[in-house]
Amino acid sequence: MDWLHIQKEEIINILNAMLYANGEPISIKRFEDILDIDRKLLIELMEENMENLNKSKSGILIKKIEDSYQMSTNPLYFKYVRQLFESKKADTLSRAAYETLAIIAYNKQATRAKIESVRGNSDSPLRTLLERGLVIEAGRLDAPGRPVLYKPAEEFYRAFEIESLDELIPLDDFDEDEKEEDIMDNPNTL
């Protein structure tokens, strides 16, 4: 296609139309294939699009999920949107489930044995996570017994407002004791 004659705004409009029609996430690769536009330009336009929607407090926003994009409502208007769905209650999981999910997310993928080495028996929280579609199987580890690997599912990125696993706050930032230790070890930094 000859995109030179087409305005940036028009491409953005096309992207939005495609996202609306699809409902589910569309990968950058898919956009590239269909529109035959350079990947860098696509990402650039999408970023601009997302920023504009954000700035104008649009009812519809675009959420980035790893290498894909998906339309969603603006959290600002949740109060109203939720009233469409009588049964929509805030969902919460057990502490065990959040911990298990954290182990899987921080390791990008984990076997049952890995999870258990960190927080002990986790059969039941793992089952909950699988049932909720927050975690899926990601093949098998090339180790004796070929144990199943689990990784965060697409739904995880949606439900936890996360774009990619690299975006997670580094685990070591949660090491409160180490910080104190550092200060004690190096009194000069005070």
Binding site: G23, F78, T92, R95, R119, R158, F160, I162, D177, E181
Partner: protein, 255 residues
């Protein structure tokens, strides 16, 4: 238990959770844990659990044994050719666990925020019937009672008359259906449940039996089922184990 601290019986997620709690209560740094004090308190806790007739999970006992092992090793002169020091191992585990515990709390907060966004396809299953409030009067109640009795009667009559018809119609064989599915799987590499079976189905019982067949084949590892989301189409692929059942027991007695 002549100890100067209060044992609060909370629900701990596991032995590591209890250890982290004890370390916090004693205001120790996780990098400078007084193992003997913690061991004592940990065992007190297990005893309190026992007194309350709570079942002590085996993983709690395993950590108790590890703590005692560490304590006994500390009383012996150190060997030079140490293998893995159980103390280091346990402490490293605690450090890792504590980080994950905090990360888990963070995840809980993220989960609250994440749910403020709605996605169009995701909302389909959330459309529930809105709850309704009825104002009941005595006559209303009687009317509803009569209605429900009548409904029951209607149901029974119809069924009683048609029972023979129903039994006759329901004769769909699972063995037959499994053969049918295997036939198709041998012909085509991958089939769609909706396309292949749901589209031109003759009766609900045939569809249910076909569905049962693919479940049996999947349980026997003869076929692989894939479904993206509940209620969506199911893709069926034959595996290398795909074969016709040798006898009837293979269909009904698999475990």
């Amino acid at each position: 238990m002549g100890v100067g601290y209060q044992l609060k019986l909370e629900n701990f997620e596991g032995p590591l959770d209890l250890l982290v709690h004890l370390i916090d209560v004693n205001k120790m740094s996780i990098y400078d844990v007084k193992i003997s004090l913690i061991t004592e308190q940990y065992l007190d806790y297990l005893m309190a659990m026992q007194e309350l007739n709570m079942e002590i999970a085996s993983d709690f006992l395993l950590i108790a044994a590890t703590l005692l092992q560490i304590k006994s090793r500390s009383m012996l002169p150190k060997e030079k050719t140490e293998t893995i020091d159980p103390e280091d191992q346990l402490l490293n585990q605690l450090i890792e666990y504590k980080k994950i515990k905090i990360a888990g709390e963070r995840f809980k907060e993220n989960h609250q925020v994440g749910q403020l966004r709605c996605f169009s396809f995701a909302s389909v299953e959330d459309f529930g019937e809105t709850e309704q409030t009825y104002i009941l009067s005595k006559s209303h109640l009687i009317m509803m009672y009569r209605e429900s009795i009548q409904r029951e009667l209607d149901k029974k009559n119809v069924k009683a008359e048609n029972i023979r018809e129903i039994v006759k119609k329901e004769k769909v064989s699972l063995a037959h259906s499994i053969r049918k599915v295997i036939d198709v799987l041998f012909r085509e590499k991958r089939i769609s449940f909706f396309q292949q079976f749901k589209k031109n189905v003759t009766s609900p019982s045939v569809l249910v039996t076909d569905f049962l067949s693919i479940l049996v084949l999947s349980a026997q590892k003869k076929a692989l089922l894939k479904q993206k989301r509940p209620f969506e189409d199911i893709l069926i692929e034959g595996t290398e184990n795909l074969s016709y059942p040798e006898n009837i027991h293979e269909i009904y007695d698999w475990e």
